[in-house]
Amino acid sequence: MAKLTIAQALNQALEAALMEDSAVVILGEDVGKDGGVFRITDGLFEKFGGDRVIDTPLAESGIVGTSVGLAMAGMKPVAEIQFFGFIYETMDQIASQAARVRFRSLGRYSAPMVIRAPFGGGVKAPEIHSDSLEALFTHTPGIKVVVPSNPYDAKGLLLSAIDDPDPVLFLEPMRLYRAFRDEVPEEAYRVPLGKASVVREGTDVTLIGWGPSMALVLAAADELVAQYDIAPEVVDLRTLTPLDEETIVTSVQKTQRAVVVHEAVRTSGFGGEIAALIQEKAFLYLEAPVLRVTGYDTPYPMTMFEDLWLPDTSQVVTAALSSVRF
């Protein structure tokens, strides 16, 4: 099997989708000739032509709003928002439009569309480019939020997202685009939406993350095992909504402790929802409060200081230790 980066795995998924279904079109800023600023759509314009892979004018609401129309009329648009921070421009078209099509029309229409966006920090990008805003969409009924953290999931989840009959926000951890390679099957396999993955079994504390934070969580898990003889269970949520509550609750009922890790600012981040859920569903099992390792409650800093701002492995280790030792 070929070893691919997340970027390559995504490119394969998009190519497979374009081949499988003539209703699939890719649109966004610079996704055509340029192959996207992160080269995720590289080569697709050349292979499928300008009717399938479309450079749009520079207007995010336009990209998402026309996608809603395309989708209602039977196409399957896969829109790229160049950086997640620019998603603000599209909030009405996502939350009041795409997410409500099925509801508004009593199922007469649906909006089978995917909005892809690179997100997360650590790549020294300018202001607004690195923000983690997934919690805005986990609070938006009608849209699914999917966040892969490795090449295998990236390909399989993206194909499932494109198959989905309703809108899916697909968030790609840009720091991990080319950070490592994994074995990725050639064929167009699917990874189901709505299922978390227990990437490491353990008994002492459940570490929960998604997308970019999985890198820290996995490194912290190694350290906990190696240095502290602690056996963490590691859960990669993969899909934030609909949330796989069962996997989370089962794990915490076993370990009785949990730490949630995300890059987004702390207040009202998705970590708060996870903590609220755990204390509600596994209350009598808890030996320690659910702890959160997150970004600070400030705007994402200028990148000279992003490493100071971003949660890191040692913070995850510290949180896990305080949980275990509580």
Binding site: G65, G69, Q97
Partner: protein, 323 residues
């Protein structure tokens, strides 16, 4: 600076006195008789809905009184395979495309059936967010183009909607992508309490087409003959790949913005009077009478028929909701 009025002279075929300027174009006398009956029925419905709200039977209703010719003309040229992407005041237009008029009542009642467009009818549910549907119109038209279907899409919106960023993005996308779409603006000159002159500084909405390098048209929206003919021409042209186009239909909201609104607070009675004289129904009636095609008896029959149909609709509505 450009004089929008000069660049986009008002297209008119039937003036407010009921005089035909030129000919009927693609329309026939029979068409106009039918149109008149339908318009009168729609007017009856609209006024009746207003009263239902006053009686507390339904909630907030947005009347289309005064805009019947614009809405009817907007869809006059559409085929079964064509699309309509309407806004929240377009019950008349949607009705002609196969959406029951009850939907206007469902809307005012906050009933979900409002969104239940009959299967096979190519109409989107009424849009509440101003201008959001303009982008959906672009997407729908683009989908038909990508599939090489020979169909036209009409997206409707108010004058106020042209201030929104989405309207601009829609016009720009549509023109760059050359989609088979007609942007149809019902310029009723008010966005709730804000008159057009505070909504924009340009003289006409039609001139906004220039910003996108497409053709724009300004038509008397209270003149069904003019609107219907223009839309016949343009929908044929968009089906042939010549779109998109922008149409400004100059009309007037004779009623309040909604039943929750009091126009007395912000607009002059003289203005309302002026536009009562320009009523789309009146000029059609005058012309038909002048042609000897409308007698008092005909009118009584149309009214009776309208009343009956409206009663039926309301009965069905009450039954559906059990009220």
């Amino acid at each position: 600076m450009t004089d929008g009025m000069e660049m986009f002279p008002l297209i008119q075929r039937l003036d407010e006195e009921g005089n035909l300027i030129g000919d009927l174009g693609v329309l026939s006398l029979a068409d106009l008789k039918e149109t008149y009956a339908t318009m009168r029925f729609l007017r009856t419905f609209d006024e009746r809905a207003w009263n239902l709200q006053r009686q507390g039977v339904i909630g907030t209703y947005a009347p289309f009184k005064g805009q019947e010719a614009a809405q009817m003309g907007a869809v006059a040229a559409l085929e079964d395979t064509d699309w309509l992407v309407p806004t929240y005041r377009d019950w008349a237009a949607s009705y002609l495309r196969g959406v029951p008029l009850e939907h206007g009542l469902f809307f005012s009642k906050g009933h979900p059936s409002l969104g239940d467009i009959p299967v096979g009818k190519r109409v989107l549910p009424a849009q509440v967010v101003i201008a959001a549907q303009t982008l959906h119109g672009v997407g729908v038209a683009w989908a038909t183009k990508l599939r090489h279907e020979k169909v036209a899409t009409v997206v409707t919106f108010g004058d106020g909607a042209t201030s929104q960023g989405d309207f601009h993005e829609a016009m720009n996308f549509a023109s760059v992508l050359a989609v088979p779409l007609i942007f149809f603006c019902e310029n009723n000159q008010w966005a709730i309490s804000v008159p057009l002159a505070r909504q924009m500084h340009a003289e006409t909405i039609a001139q906004r087409s220039i910003a996108y390098g497409i053709e724009g048209f300004r038509v008397d929206g209270n003149d069904y003959v003019a609107v219907a003919n223009l839309m016949h021409e343009l929908s044929e042209r968009v089906r042939n790949g010549e779109g998109p186009f922008l149409v400004e239909a100059l009309t007037y909201r004779l009623g309040a913005h909604t039943t929750a609104d009091d126009p007395g607070k912000y607009r002059a009675i003289e203005e309302e009077d002026l536009w009562i004289r320009r009523d789309p129904l009146v000029r059609l009636e005058r012309w038909l009478r002048a042609q000897g095609q409308l007698s008092d008896e005909d009118l009584a029959a149309i009214d009776a028929d309208s009343e009956r149909k409206v009663e039926e609709i309301i009965a069905g509505f009450r039954e559906a909701l059990d009220i």
